[in-house]
């Protein structure tokens, strides 16, 4: 009985991405004249049905018969190179599928409430569904090129949604920045694809991985697998905002908060991690590339966390926090703990999505203000938001038994197994993370309210809030927004228990065949090292607690201290607050030369001097020729006769010459 519906689900795996696409198309083409209820229904129904399919696939899955393939259509058949629209379901893609559809569906529900008063409501819902389509294509693809379609597509959706309020210059610029920086990463990805075609003749996962497994590890640090791995990492760095291509993510906060939650916290930015985990077979045989990934991830985690402590915009704090947590995930992948990275990806989707949605609730409740210095005391006005955001903060700080503790600790443990340096930096970052998250909580919800409420729709989240409510004080959000918050809060509490007794790791083991062997070894080793593991766990928990304590002291007990510390640190503080001036550095190093070179060489040099000149000069050449030839038309009969006689002489001469030859 049960196999039949399950096999139907698997056979129609292509429905999962295409349902949101249908929703996007309907809303995109017909939404302008539809009622908001109709638009919301379409968006939620198509997104929700994808989620239901995902649940059905999860319910019926059994590890023994995975992975499943679903061939949808032919695409490229060129000689021996072949790419088809095929979809692939194994444990890893099932986890990603559930996260994307589940969190995505919740955020769609939230958006109904958040964006209701916006004029382009249908456009927003259409773009959100479009994003779901591309993201699902990405995670379900069976082929790197189909994954690349999804990769590019989520970049496009991100651009559209960041620049959703495109009439604002800063939003349009932020969208452009995101797309261009992504593109740089995509360039690396593409070259990696080309190398794969060259070496393996195919981009299909099964074929590539089968071919890779016949190769030996490149311990020398050079070779095609290392090159492919490093280039894939370039792509992942662009998409998942790692050093040096992270600069777009803080600017992306110009978009509406649901966008920040869905794309820049839960799903799109994790695409890089997914791609690295999917390519684990390649990376395991390229230890140099793995080391580079681990180093980049670790450094990014620390770097972003330090910037986060000086930010005053609530969304910017969360943005840098996202970059930092993504660094953790890459650190995990870099040391070979791919399943730990995916585990943290999942829990991060829960608590970071929750954090962003709750921040949106806060912003919505005080009329569009995002500066934390103008907040405070909101726990009295928004109890539910306060509660859920508090749970998320506990999760991200790594306090047990919340979700973040389980996943972050797993990463730190595995990192320690690779090198204590990774572990130490990870612990320091955890301390800083806890500090700035609790700083955020105290500044936003603690003390007294410092702002003037309902500042009329100026600033960032201008969504016409003022007209609707017009209360004189901050207020809680409607239940259409609070519902997803509560659900995500529950997940942030219980989500970590999937790591109990390494269940999650064992679940994903068939995907990461290498570590599967290691897992078996480790279970025996863990019994022996359990004391070490418990010691490290104690260290990380206490560090999180220290961060909380410091935040409490600085922002609750003695709120005047932070300003004095900042003043005494002077230049150092300013550098951190200004994000170490990295954006300015890039502008001077890269942006200005490109723009100047383009203006001078391409515009003046090629376009004006060569192309325009060719056209203009051929026209003036025609004119000069005709000016010269014009003199033949003198109107004088005898000159005409002269020309005729001369021409006749030429012809006669030619004929005589031909006759003589």
């Amino acid at each position: 009985m049960t196999p039949n519906p399950y096999l139907w689900l698997v056979g129609h795996l292509w429905l999962v991405p295409l349902l949101p696409l249908a929703g996007a198309a309907i809303n995109g083409f017909f939404g302008r004249r539809s009622s908001k209820i109709a638009i919301s229904t379409i968006a939620l129904v198509f997104c929700g049905s994808a989620f239901l399919m995902a649940l059905g696939l999860a319910a019926g899955s059994s590890s023994a018969s995975a992975p499943y393939y679903c061939d949808f259509a032919h695409w490229i058949r060129s000689g021996s190179f072949q790419v088809d629209f095929s979809f692939y379901l194994d444990q890893l893609s099932l986890v990603m599928l559930l996260v994307v559809t589940g969190v995505g569906f919740l955020i769609h529900i939230y958006s109904v409430g958040y964006m209701w008063d916006d004029d382009g409501y249908y456009r927003f819902m259409s773009y959100m569904n479009l994003f779901m389509f591309f993201m699902l294509t990405l995670v379900l693809a069976k082929d790197y090129l189909v994954m690349f379609i999804g990769w590019e597509g989520v970049g496009l959706a991100s651009y559209l949604l960041i620049g959703y309020w495109f009439t604002k210059d800063s939003a349009a610029a932020a969208g452009k920045k995101a797309f261009i920086v992504n593109r740089i990463g995509d360039f690396g990805f593409l070259i990696a694809l080309f190398l794969m075609i060259k070496h393996f003749g195919s981009l299909d996962f099964t074929q590539v991985f089968a071919a890779v497994q016949t190769l030996s590890p490149e311990t020398g640090g050079a070779g095609p697998l290392t090159a492919i791995g490093l280039l894939l990492m370039v792509g992942a760095a662009g998409k998942s905002a790692q050093i040096p291509l992270y600069v777009w993510l803080p600017d992306a906060m110009e978009g509406p908060t649901p966008v920040s939650a869905l794309i820049h916290a839960a799903t799109m930015v994790t695409a890089g991690v997914y791609m690295v985990a999917r390519s684990s077979v390649i990376f395991e045989r390229a230890p140099m590339a793995m080391m580079v990934i681990a180093i980049i991830g670790t450094l990014t985690a620390l770097f972003a966390a330090t910037i986060g402590i000086a930010q005053t915009d609530i969304k910017k704090v969360l943005a840098y926090s996202t970059i930092s947590q993504l660094g953790y995930m890459f650190m995990a992948c870099g040391v070979g703990a791919f399943s730990a990275g995916i585990f943290h990806l999942m829990t991060h989707a829960f608590f970071k999505g929750l954090l962003f949605l709750a921040a949106g609730s806060v912003i919505h409740g005080i009329g569009g203000e995002q500066d934390m210095r103008k907040m405070g005391g909101l726990r009295l006005y928004m109890p539910w938001t306060f509660l859920t955001m508090g749970i998320a903060t506990l999760a991200i700080a790594g306090i047990p038994p919340f979700a973040g503790f389980w996943s972050k600790d797993e990463i730190l443990w595995k990192a320690f197994g690779a090198s204590w340096v990774y572990w130490l930096i990870g612990v320091v970052t955890a301390f800083i993370t806890s500090f700035y998250m609790f700083r955020l909580m105290y500044m936003t919800f603690g003390g007294e309210y410092r702002g003037t409420v309902v500042q009329e729709a100026h600033g960032h989240d201008a969504h016409g809030h003022g007209q609707g409510h017009g209360h004189g004080e901050p207020h809680e959000s409607p239940w259409v927004m609070l519902g997803p918050l509560v659900i995500l809060a529950v997940l942030s509490v219980v989500g970590g228990f999937l790591g109990y007794r390494n269940w999650f790791e064992h679940f994903l083991a068939p995907v990461f065949q290498g570590p599967a062997m290691k897992v078996v070894e480790e279970t025996s080793r863990e019994a022996a090292d359990s004391t070490l593991e418990h010691l490290l766990m104690f260290v990380s928990v206490s560090v999180a607690g220290l961060g909380w304590l410091l935040a409490y002291l600085l922002y609750s007990r003695r709120p005047q201290l932070p300003a004095r510390i900042a003043a005494s640190l002077g230049g150092l503080y300013r550098a951190v607050a200004n994000k170490y001036y990295i954006d300015e550095l890039y502008a001077v190093l890269f942006v200005k030369p490109v723009v100047d070179g383009s203006t001078t060489i391409l515009w003046h040099g090629v376009d004006q001097e060569v192309i325009d000149a060719t056209v203009n000069n051929s026209a003036s050449a025609a004119r000069h020729v005709s000016d010269t030839v014009r003199h033949m038309q003198s109107g004088n009969l005898r000159s005409y006769a002269g020309w005729v006689a001369a021409g006749g002489a030429v012809v006669i001469a030619y004929m005589v010459w031909m006759g003589v030859r």
């Binding site: 004088n636 020309w643 006749g648 002489a649 006669i652």
Partner: protein, 175 residues
């Protein structure tokens, strides 16, 4: 021998007439020398045996066309030619061109050694034979040229007529 003398005699008249046409300044003198050229050409035709052609040459060419020219000169009261600037191209390009062309042709002709001599009265151009050819083989061109003459007559009449003021009837749509 006689043939050659006669040929050279009439040929000299031809050339003299042609040169005189170039040299004279009053058009009537040029017209008269052209008549002389045509008459001697008729004699040349006779030397070649084309009696009908010679007759037609005198009757039509010298007798009708040249008369037309003389009438026109009289009608327009053409005087001696005046000096005018003219065209440099004609002098610089045209004269060398035609001279070179002529020299080339002459040189080609003189180099040919296989040109037979043409006896006197070589091809007797009987009117009967010519008529047979004209009305059998060349009937279509004959008819076409007759139409051509008709058109020429009409064209000449129209072109040369004095432009009349065209009387316009009262316009119906204007007050």
């Amino acid at each position: 021998m006689l043939h050659l003398i006669l040929f050279l005699f009439f040929g000299a008249i031809c050339v003299a007439g042609a040169v005189n046409l170039l040299v004279q300044s009053h058009p009537i003198n040029s017209a008269l020398s052209l008549i002389a050229v045509m008459a001697s050409l008729a004699a040349e035709y006779l030397l070649l045996g084309a009696e009908f052609v010679a007759a037609v040459q005198v009757i039509v060419y010298a007798g009708a066309i040249m008369v037309l020219f003389v009438i026109t000169i009289m009608l327009l009261n053409a005087g001696a030619e005046e000096r005018s600037k003219g065209s440099r191209v004609a002098i610089l390009l045209g004269i060398p061109g035609v001279v070179i062309g002529g020299v080339l042709v002459a040189w080609t002709l003189l180099n040919r050694s296989n040109m037979q001599a043409v006896p006197i009265g070589a091809l007797k151009g009987d009117p009967r034979d010519i008529a047979r050819l004209l009305f059998h083989d060349f009937l279509l061109p004959f008819e076409v040229t007759s139409v051509l003459i008709l058109i020429a007559i009409m064209g000449a009449v129209v072109l040369a007529s004095r432009p009349q003021a065209v009387a316009r009837g009262p316009r119906k749509d204007e007050g």
